[in-house]
């Protein structure tokens, strides 16, 4: 059972990474990140059940709390991006590069 959970967790994680990198829609990127967290949670819960130790469940709880705070920040990011650029394109956030100098 544990191995099945782990494999499922790996698959979900991979799907999350694929969505994170290949999509430009910032809302989908956010949900991909949440998917990554969920995949990790899944493996933690499975391990907790297998070891009969509830510490892993507490870690999952903490992760869920972090996800919630992340959600709050992302929501305000959506609002700011959309208000300034009228778009949800993640490629608009490119001030990290050297485009301005070219």
């Amino acid at each position: 059972m544990l191995k099945s959970y782990m494999i499922l967790s790996i698959l979900l994680f991979s799907i999350g990474v694929v969505g994170l990198i290949s999509r430009r829609n910032i809302i989908v990127i956010y949900m991909s990140i949440e998917l990554l967290l969920n995949a990790v949670n899944l493996s933690l819960i499975a391990i907790s059940a297998d070891l009969a130790d509830s510490s892993a469940q507490v870690i999952s709880l903490v992760i869920i709390a972090i996800a919630a705070s992340e959600a709050a920040l992302f929501m305000s990011l959506f609002v700011v991006l959309f208000r300034n650029r009228a778009s949800l394109d993640a490629n608009l956030f490119d001030m990290l590069g050297n485009k301005n100098e070219r």
Partner: protein
């Protein structure tokens, strides 16, 4: 006073005064002229007094002053010491270099009076003296070479002293570049010596001790290359072309550097290496021939010159030729003695010429200066002219006749003939100049020279007259004091007294004849105006043009080839190409850095996956 302190003070006093004058010149734009005068004269004056002191002790007590300052290089068992040594030869050199320098300094304070670059002039002048002393006092060829180069440098700076006129700068460049050719010879000779001397330092004494171990061909090559250096410095064929152009400098410079001291450095160097030249007789003979041809050639050119300073320049070259002839046949002390007297009378001639030039508003053409009325200068110039033409009892009579006697006795009758003809030509061009300048129907008058110019000339006149007494030949009851003092590796030639008398009489008779004929031709006539001033002799045998057409053009083409093809195309272009390639590569790589975090995540993913795959393959057997 210890030797160390004495020599250091002697060497450093002109240097310090040069440095101080430089500093004052840089820092205070409006420094008083008297400050410069005081510094310059004290610098050269101290060294002149010390020079007399050193020579006195060297002459009467046979004392050798030596001073070891520090070790410059220490490579294995090979050391180069910075050491000074005033043996007889060096003492002899400074005996006339330092006082003549001092006198010309005094003269220059009058000549350069109210010149805008007064300070700069004396800074260079004192620096020159420093380097000259370094050359003369050096105890090994390396230090000598430093002095050698230093006098070349200051000579360059002083020839192009009035750099406002580009021609003067060109003349300075010419002197410097031609001297480079000679210096190449000197430097090559030093390298060969370095390779040949087994060990034990590079001092002169050690070199001479080890001469026997050098194989004959190398020895001849070293001797020849050293002489190439002397050719450049002492303006002998074929490297003489710079000397006439060097007259672009102020007249005190011509008097001190290009007549009395620096140009004689070549003679000094050959005399310094006398043991070497005694072992390479064929090179010595070569030197004698070069000297003879130079003497004849320069005297010939001088007969058709009109610029008062050019005449004297060619005469300098001719007299240097005499010295080299004497060196070539091994009569070293005779050559040096002629150098000694030459310093006085040629310095005097130049100073008199300078006085005339100043008095007549920088006219230098003797056709414009006909019939000048200048009694005091006339007397001094007449004495100097009679001296250079070797009329008894003036000093050059003794020195020049000694050279003639040595040449005759050496058995090289062709050398003697060259010297004889040159000496007659000398008489011709000197008296031509004198008669044109002072014996003419028309008369021009000018105000007297300042005292600062007059008194040094006075003193030099006396020296020109009486310096000959110092090395009186046996014939006149002397005992060749100088030759015994110098104690060089001379070959002494003895000829019967009757023959010597005959030689002198014939020589003097012919010279007198030439002077008489010149008087008839030029005095109170317009011959100087109407004589043809074209042809080979007037144009200096087209040597300059010949060099321009061959050496200069060839070198220019060669340089252009290297500049365009090798430097620009082969090196610069390729380096630029590499830089350009990096630039392009950077542009390409910078595309990856587009500021999009998604792409950075992609790069990270690629890295992580590669790491995973690598580790999996690496650890596959363990797992």
């Amino acid at each position: 006073m210890s030797d160390n302190l004495l020599l250091t003070l002697f060497l450093l006093s002109p240097f310090l005064s040069a440095a101080l004058i430089f500093l004052i010149n840089l820092l205070f734009k409006n420094a008083k002229q008297s400050v410069y005068t005081f510094l310059a004269l004290s610098g050269s004056g101290i060294s002149a007094i010390l020079a007399l002191y050193i020579s006195y002790h060297s002459y009467f007590e046979k004392q050798i002053f030596s001073s070891h300052l520090f070790t410059w290089l220490n490579i294995g068992d090979f050391t180069i010491e910075v050491a000074l040594k005033a043996d007889a030869l060096s003492s002899f050199m400074i005996l006339f270099v330092a006082p003549v320098s001092f006198l010309i300094h005094i003269y220059a304070t009058g000549y350069m009076n109210r010149d805008a670059s007064y300070g700069r002039f004396f800074a260079y002048f004192n620096l020159f003296i420093f380097f000259m002393f370094l050359l003369v006092l050096a105890d090994n060829p390396i230090i000598m070479f430093i002095g050698w180069e230093g006098v070349g440098l200051t000579s360059y700076a002083l020839i192009g002293f009035y750099f406002g006129d580009i021609q003067n700068t060109y003349a300075g460049n010419k002197a410097f570049i031609v001297n480079r050719v000679g210096d190449f010879g000197f430097l090559s000779a030093l390298m060969l010596l370095f390779l040949s001397i087994p060990s034990g330092g590079f001092g002169f004494s050690n070199i001479f001790l080890n001469l026997a171990e050098i194989e004959p061909f190398t020895l001849s090559l070293i001797a020849f290359l050293l002489f190439v250096g002397a050719m450049g410095k002492s303006a002998q064929i074929p490297l003489f072309v710079w000397l006439p152009d060097a007259m672009a400098g102020p007249t005190p410079v011509s008097a001190l550097i290009h007549a009395a001291t620096m140009v004689t450095a070549g003679v000094y160097m050959v005399a310094r290496f006398a043991p070497l030249y005694n072992m390479a007789p064929e090179v010595s003979l070569f030197i004698a021939y070069i000297g003879g041809i130079s003497a004849l050639f320069a005297a010939l050119i001088a007969t058709k010159q009109y610029d008062i300073k050019k005449i004297l320049a060619y005469s300098t070259m001719s007299q240097l030729g005499f010295m080299f002839m004497a060196l070539g046949v091994g009569a070293y002390s005779t050559a040096l003695f002629h150098m000694f007297t030459h310093a006085f009378f040629k310095g005097l001639l130049f100073m008199a010429a300078g006085a005339i030039i100043v008095a007549f508003h920088h006219k230098q053409d003797i056709r414009d200066l006909r019939g000048i009325k200048f009694p005091k200068i006339f007397v001094m110039m007449a004495v100097a002219s009679l001296t250079i033409t070797a009329i008894p009892p003036f000093s050059a009579f003794f020195s020049k006749d000694a050279i003639m006697g040595a040449l005759y006795a050496s058995g090289h009758i062709e050398l003697f003939a060259m010297a004889f003809i040159s000496s007659l030509l000398t008489a011709f061009y000197m008296s031509r100049m004198m008669f044109v300048l002072f014996f003419s129907k028309s008369e021009q008058a000018a105000k007297e020279s300042p005292k600062s110019m007059f008194y040094p000339m006075m003193l030099l006149t006396l020296l020109s007259v009486f310096a000959g007494l110092l090395n009186m030949p046996e014939l006149f009851g002397g005992n060749l004091n100088f030759s015994h003092w110098l104690n060089l590796a001379d070959k002494f030639y003895t000829i019967p007294h009757a023959k010597e008398w005959a030689l002198m009489s014939v020589n003097t008779f012919f010279i007198a004849l030439v002077i008489y004929n010149t008087y008839k031709k030029y005095a109170y006539t317009n011959e100087i105006i109407v004589e043809k001033n074209y042809g080979w002799v007037t144009n200096k045998f087209y040597i300059d043009e010949f060099y321009n057409k061959t050496v200069v053009v060839l070198l220019h083409k060669f340089s252009i080839f290297f500049d365009k093809k090798i430097s620009n195309f082969l090196i610069d272009e390729k380096i630029n190409l590499t830089a350009l390639a990096y630039l392009k590569l950077g542009k390409i790589v910078s595309i990856a850095e587009n500021g999009n975090v998604r792409f950075y995540a992609l790069y990270m993913l690629i890295g992580v996956v590669s790491g995973f795959v690598y580790l999996y393959l690496l650890l596959g057997s363990v797992l």
